[in-house]
């Protein structure tokens, strides 16, 4: 018995020692492999993604010196100049691509060895899968691209076999499976339904908003719109740190009024952000026609519901006055329908009258009965001959100082509209001198101008974070209008952009015109009804 113990213990010790040595070796190989894979991935990413940076560096004449990044750049430049010299096995004749190819082969060999080891860690496998995917994305030939995708998918399958509850790997597996579609891979652990994989990943951690966001994107790419919309709603509603890019990605995936209702929660600040995205930067929106009547109607409904919720919260004392006011003023800038804007004006007037600001309340009550007019705005600097200078540079988007050396802010007024008030809004407070130096000119031919009376000093208002200068005019339908700062001062306190700082209100008998974008002070849909 004792002799048996003497045999077993050393054997056990030797086994333990051997396994420890093997594990250590696998760890060291894995560590090296991961480091090399990460470095190599960086090279490939630079090579495929930073074309402009490469061009800049070449133009600068900067030569790659010491340091990992510069070496990567040097290799990546070579790779860029001849992508065919990749690790895909294609023959290359140049020195640079060959070096990269060699490095790629060595890295892949090392990664294979590390991942096939009995003691290889999942982090090594994960890095290997990631590298294979990067290589796939860099391939121009479909056959090789698919081969790399399949290898990566199989590697993720292996990770999941070891760790079935690895949500990240499950998500990545689902993503690759969605990319491959119905294409079958000849490797084990590569078959399945991507939707099931994503569902399982989400079930593993139902509170992980980032996982929900990723799953939503994958489902959207897989054209599973209803499922994607549900996830996007949850992310948009509950994600505590949703980045601007993520938000734009979600909103940019909306392609119908129905999906808008499904994705955007009818509450602040989400409605505000969505309104800003669709109506203030319509040129960024490519998936949906933001001028479509049904789409605007859906957005207007969301705005109305959010406004009602905010009023309810304010009425029950759950929301401070300043926040409620801010929400309303910001929404007024991006109202999706005339009804919403007019309702906002009415509510604001009631709110402000209660707070004792009767002058502004009175103006907003009047404004609630007017239309936001369609105009083509522009501005000209140094307009020292306001009776002669024509309006040019229509649609000017550059920012300018309104209180600078004979600045004119002008607009073209299409037929069928009459101006009642011109609003200039600034973040800074306009001085009395600025207001008293404002003159209004009109013209029918953009060549000969006439000054019109506006009834004295222009009225200043503060509304939320904005300062309004309101110029009331007699109802006129002249084609060309100019608000002229008749002063040589260069105060430069009132920074403005023509699209966001000029609004013209009045009466309109124009019919709505369908278009893909708003311009300047144009409000979508607000030109539809006769007064």
């Amino acid at each position: 018995m004792r002799s048996l113990v003497f045999v077993i213990i050393p054997l056990f010790a030797i086994g333990l020692l051997t396994s420890s040595v093997l594990e250590l070796r696998a760890y060291l190989i894995g560590k090296e492999a991961v480091e090399r894979m990460q470095a190599f991935q960086q090279d490939l990413r630079v090579a495929s993604g930073s074309r402009s940076e490469l061009r800049t560096r070449r133009a600068d004449g900067s030569t790659p010196g010491a340091g990992r990044v510069d070496r990567s750049f040097a290799r990546a430049s070579d790779y860029q100049s001849n992508p065919s010299g990749s690790v895909s096995g294609l023959e290359s004749t140049e020195e640079g691509p060959r070096a990269l190819e060699l490095e790629g082969r060595e890295t892949l060999d090392l990664a294979r060895r590390a991942s096939s080891s009995l003691f290889g860690s999942t982090s090594t496998l994960s890095s290997y899968a990631s590298l294979l995917r990067v290589l796939a994305e860099g391939q121009s030939l479909t056959r090789e691209k698919l081969a790399f995708y399949c290898d990566s998918l199989a590697m993720l399958g292996e990770i999941l076999q070891r760790e079935p509850r690895n949500a990240r790997a499950l998500m990545q597996w689902g993503n690759l499976r969605q990319i491959l579609g119905s294409l079958a891979c000849e490797k084990p652990l590569t078959e399945g339904d991507f939707k099931e994989a994503l569902t399982s990943a989400l079930e593993l951690d139902p509170t992980d908003a980032d996982a929900q966001y990723a799953a939503g994107l994958i489902l959207r790419w897989g054209r599973a719109v209803p499922e994607a919309a549900k996830l996007f709603y949850r992310v948009f509603r509950y994600h505590p740190r949703l980045s601007g890019a993520q938000e734009r990605q979600i909103l940019g995936s909306i392609d119908s009024p129905q999906m808008l209702r499904e994705v955007v929660p009818a509450r602040f600040p989400q409605v505000l952000r969505a309104s800003h995205y669709f109506l203030r930067e319509p040129y960024l929106v490519r998936t949906v026609n933001v001028a479509d009547e049904q789409f605007l109607q859906a957005l207007a409904e969301l705005q109305s519901e959010a406004l009602a919720l905010s009023q309810s919260e304010y009425g029950r004392g759950l929301l401070p006055f300043s926040m409620h006011l801010q929400r309303m003023t910001e929404l007024a800038d991006t109202a999706a329908s005339p009804q919403v804007r007019q309702e906002l004006d009415r509510q604001l007037a009631i709110l402000l009258r209660r707070r004792g600001d009767t002058a502004l309340a009175q103006y907003l009550s009047e404004r609630a009965t007017w239309k936001l007019l369609e105009v083509v705005p522009t501005t000209i600097g140094g307009d020292t001959r306001p009776l002669k200078t024509p309006l040019v540079r229509w649609g000017e988007t550059n920012s300018f100082f309104a209180d600078e050396f004979y600045r004119s802010i002008g607009f073209f007024l299409p037929d069928g509209q009459g101006v009642r008030s011109i609003e200039l809004n600034f973040s800074g407070r306009p001085s009395g001198a600025y207001r008293s130096a404002l003159h209004v000119y009109v013209s029918s031919d953009n060549q000969n101008w006439t000054e019109i009376s506006t009834g004295g000093e222009e009225v200043p208002f503060s509304l939320g974070s904005k300062n309004l200068v309101v110029i009331r005019t007699p109802v006129r339908g002249d084609l060309y209008w100019k608000v002229h700062f008749a002063n040589a001062a260069r105060d430069r306190r009132l920074l403005a952009t023509i699209a966001s700082n000029l609004k013209v209100f009045g009466v309109s008998a124009r019919h709505a015109q369908s278009s893909g974008a708003t311009l300047g002070a144009t409000a979508p849909g607000e030109n539809g009804e006769a007064q």
Binding site: E374, K388, P390, L391, T397, G516
Partner: protein, 426 residues
């Protein structure tokens, strides 16, 4: 006394040295100024052109029919010249006809289209002079041609902006094409459609399809229409309504935009955000008096003049500092050193035997596949790079709206010179 003399002579010496050094410095400064000024002319930021007449109202984008009336009537040849110069400078197009020769396909033809430059060329098997034309994709960056050539689809180039800084969208191109065709009276021949394509996940592409309703047009006809049609911003253009193109009422993708105009006297063009041109500003000034124009040209106040007064031209011919050339029937007198490239007429010749091009989808796909640059094949081919050959052209006898097209093209004829290409030779 001696001391005084010494000090006096020392003073004189010092004064002389100072004067000398001041003189040298002055001369050096003058030279420096001269050298600073000279290259400034060579790298002029502003060019001034004299024309006989600038119309009181430009109307350079109004309906061609109206323009035709004005051209033959009250607008006059000289005013039309100014209008066409300005229209060319401020109006960018989807396609640019490159060599400005009439495009005609005859004999055994083959068509090449690629992402940047397209060619429609004739390779006649008979010993007849081959005529060639080609085009650059400008606001578009890829073209897709259906197998029967009845649908031409143009992809909108990303990053293209109007002079206002707003990006060009398919809706703008659609609006512009529809406007041109309706104005030209050939609306029954074309249909237009815009679409957004998700080529890659999250990567939206905008395409505009130009379709013919009845018969397949000659590619030259279709391209000539597209090349002559200015791309305008839909939103502002709709708001301008019938006053679009009057005076400065235009937002386009051209190299220049109107920075100022004084009716009948002067128009100032400035380089737009989208534009690339040698001169930042181009001033077109009305100089009715030939003698004054010539004096302005000699003194450098003006860089070139468009004049047809025989006395002015003969005096210009005797001046060694000036050159006279003829462009599309207009005489241009310019200072030596100013590089003026003359244009030939871009108006295609119509009335020649026309043909319908029929190409089987499989042939197209096969040819595209040979070129190795296929994005999609089948009934149509998207070509991203390299060149693609369309074969199997068949002869037909379909007449494609020649009269309507000719009238449109005549009224939209470009100016004799391209203001973007004006530059001083270094």
């Amino acid at each position: 006394m001696m001391a005084a003399r010494n000090s006096s002579s020392a003073y004189v010496r010092t004064f002389s040295r100072r004067s000398l050094s001041m003189l040298v410095m002055g001369a050096a400064s003058s030279l420096l100024c001269v050298f600073t000024i000279l290259p400034a002319k060579a790298e002029a930021q502003e060019l001034t052109l004299g024309v006989v007449e600038i119309p009181r109202e430009l109307n350079f984008l109004s309906a061609p029919k109206q323009l035709r009336g004005q051209r033959s009537g009250e607008l006059g040849r000289n005013a039309f010249l100014a209008s066409s110069l300005i229209r060319d400078a401020v109006s960018g197009t989807l396609v640019v006809l490159r060599n400005h020769e009439p495009i005609r396909i005859s004999g055994d033809s083959s068509t090449h289209v690629d992402g940047g430059v397209g060619q429609i060329e004739s390779r006649s098997s008979k010993r007849t002079p081959a005529r060639a034309g080609s085009f650059d994709l400008s606001v578009g960056d890829s073209v897709q041609v259906s197998a029967d050539q009845r649908q031409w689809s143009f992809r909108i180039r990303r990053g293209e902006t109007f002079s206002s800084g707003q990006p060009v969208r398919a809706v703008d191109v659609l609006f512009s094409l529809k406007r041109c065709v309706a104005d030209g009276g050939v609306q029954s021949l074309f249909g237009f459609e815009g679409r957004v394509v998700e080529a890659l996940p999250g990567s939206m592409e905008e395409w505009v399809d130009v379709r013919t309703t009845d018969v397949a047009p000659r590619p030259s006809d279709l391209l000539a229409l597209v090349a002559a049609c200015p791309i305008l911003e839909e939103q502002s253009s709709s708001l301008f309504g019938p006053r679009l193109g009057e005076g400065a009422n235009i937002v386009s993708v051209g190299a220049f935009r109107i920075a100022d105009f004084e009716a009948g006297r002067e128009v100032i063009l400035e380089q737009s955000q989208a534009g690339e041109a040698f001169a930042k500003r181009i001033v077109l000034r009305a100089l009715r008096d030939g003698t004054h124009a010539l004096t302005a040209l000699r003194t450098g106040t003006v860089d070139a003049i468009f004049f047809e007064n025989s006395e002015v031209l003969s005096r210009a011919a005797s001046d060694q500092t000036l050159l006279t050339i003829e462009c599309s029937g207009y005489k241009v007198v310019h200072r030596r050193g100013l590089n003026v490239e003359c244009r030939q007429s871009v108006v295609p010749t119509f009335g020649a035997p026309t043909l319908a091009m029929g190409t089987s989808g499989s042939t197209v796909a096969a040819r595209v596949a040979e070129a190795g640059s296929v994005e999609a094949a089948g009934d149509a081919a998207i070509v991203q790079g390299g060149s693609t050959a369309f074969g199997s052209t068949e002869f037909g006898s379909t007449v494609f709206g020649s009269r309507e097209m000719e009238s449109l093209m005549t009224s939209l004829a470009p100016a004799p010179i391209d203001l973007r290409r004006l530059r001083y030779l270094s």
